[in-house]
């Protein structure tokens, strides 16, 4: 049976007292996409979980329609430290690809060196750096596509912790975003990704 249907049957909780109010409450139907090979369309209020180990690229395998909205969490399991990571960005490649210079990111951060900020033209959504714990919110409308994140960066001499809020806008108002995409790390990374579809 389709794993989405399995999850619905296993987790759907209907509060009979609310039926007259036409309210259906869902206890987070959860789909494990760790071994998925094709994209699944995550329904509203469904959750996807992806475990990954020693990966530099993690395809999320989540199909997304226009006018959808998501909350994404990356919970790394790489050991806390101030060395061993490559001091380069973590990206989300929408549609599993890059779009040259189509994105702008506004960000600021505080590490052990001080407070700094940047406003940069890039080719994908920037969500972290080196090793990162990330909570992000993803808006997919054809005419407005945005990813905001609040990130802790570690694994580099100035991190563990670094606080780094950021917002990336994909300045393309016509291209459909149909696959949530691939997370690309600057070195082998491990952990868990949770994606909630809120709309």
């Amino acid at each position: 049976m389709d794993p989405v249907a399995v999850a619905m049957l296993a987790n759907l909780s209907v509060d009979l007292k609310k039926l007259n109010e036409n309210v259906t409450q869902l206890n987070f139907p959860t789909i494990d996409l760790s071994s998925a090979t094709t994209d699944y369309l995550l329904q509203p209020y469904f959750t996807a979980v992806i475990n990954f180990s020693n990966a530099t690229e993690v395809p999320l395998h989540i199909a997304i329609p226009a006018d959808s909205y998501y909350e994404l969490h990356i919970i790394p399991s790489d050991t806390g430290r101030t060395s061993g990571a490559t001091d380069s960005p973590i990206f989300l490649y929408p549609n599993n690809t890059t779009y040259t210079d189509a994105f702008w990111v506004a960000e600021y951060w505080r590490n052990s060196d001080g407070l700094a900020s940047a406003y940069t033209n890039i080719s994908a959504f920037k969500i972290g750096q080196a090793f990162s714990a990330i909570v992000a919110w993803i808006t997919n409308r054809t005419q407005y596509k945005n990813v905001r994140a609040i990130t802790d960066v570690y694994g580099i001499s100035t991190g563990w912790p670094t606080i780094s809020p950021k917002s990336t806008d994909w300045r393309d108002t016509t291209t459909p975003w149909t696959s949530l995409g691939t997370i690309v790390f600057p070195q082998n990374s491990s952990g868990t990704i949770i994606v909630f579809r809120l709309r």
Partner: protein
């Protein structure tokens, strides 16, 4: 209409730690206190989001001292590093310090936070509005704390310590 739901466990009057399961949320109501034991057992490889919703009246009178989370209901001298960026009435500024506890807000604080408990990586991030001091109401502050101990077990989510007598509610949701 569809709504998402966590199964709620009311821990307002709990006397011993309760181990939240994935998909459960703890609810705690508190009034006129400075110390709030959460009474939530935690375990390795767990992850939480939490909302601290104060009910103290908005004011410019009070202190901007730390709101703390003490993991395992105790302090670990020199083991936690925190950094924050804030804007209050007067300045846009930041800091990077060592601490014996997690720093999650200041004064009276309306807080959203995310808590990672892995033995090898323990982190608490928050975004807060702080109020209750002359330069506050509002203050926007974003904070990240790393507990630089990769061997100790974090088994009790801990105790929140407020700098002033505080009232409100806290919701803790276990996501992993």
């Amino acid at each position: 209409m569809i709504t998402r739901r966590f199964t709620r466990v009311d821990l307002t009057n709990a006397t011993e730690d309760y181990l939240l399961k994935v998909g459960e949320e703890a609810y705690i109501s508190f009034s006129g206190i400075t110390t709030l034991p959460l009474k939530i057992a935690t375990e390795n490889d767990s992850y939480y989001e939490s909302y601290l919703i104060p009910s103290n009246a908005g004011t410019l009178n009070g202190y901007s001292i730390r709101v703390k989370l003490l993991p395992n209901n105790t302090e670990y001298e020199g083991q936690i590093n925190f950094t924050y960026i804030f804007r209050n009435r007067d300045v846009f500024s930041s800091t990077y310090e060592t601490s014996p506890h997690f720093y999650i807000g200041g004064g009276y604080a309306n807080i959203s936070m995310w808590i990672i408990n892995r033995k090898q990586y323990k982190n608490v991030r928050s975004i807060a509005d702080s109020y209750g001091a002359i330069t506050n109401y509002p203050v926007i502050v974003e904070i990240s704390n790393d507990w630089r101990n990769t061997t100790d077990e974090w088994i009790s989510l801990g105790t929140i310590v407020f700098p002033m007598t505080t009232s409100g509610e806290i919701i803790v949701r276990r996501l992993m």
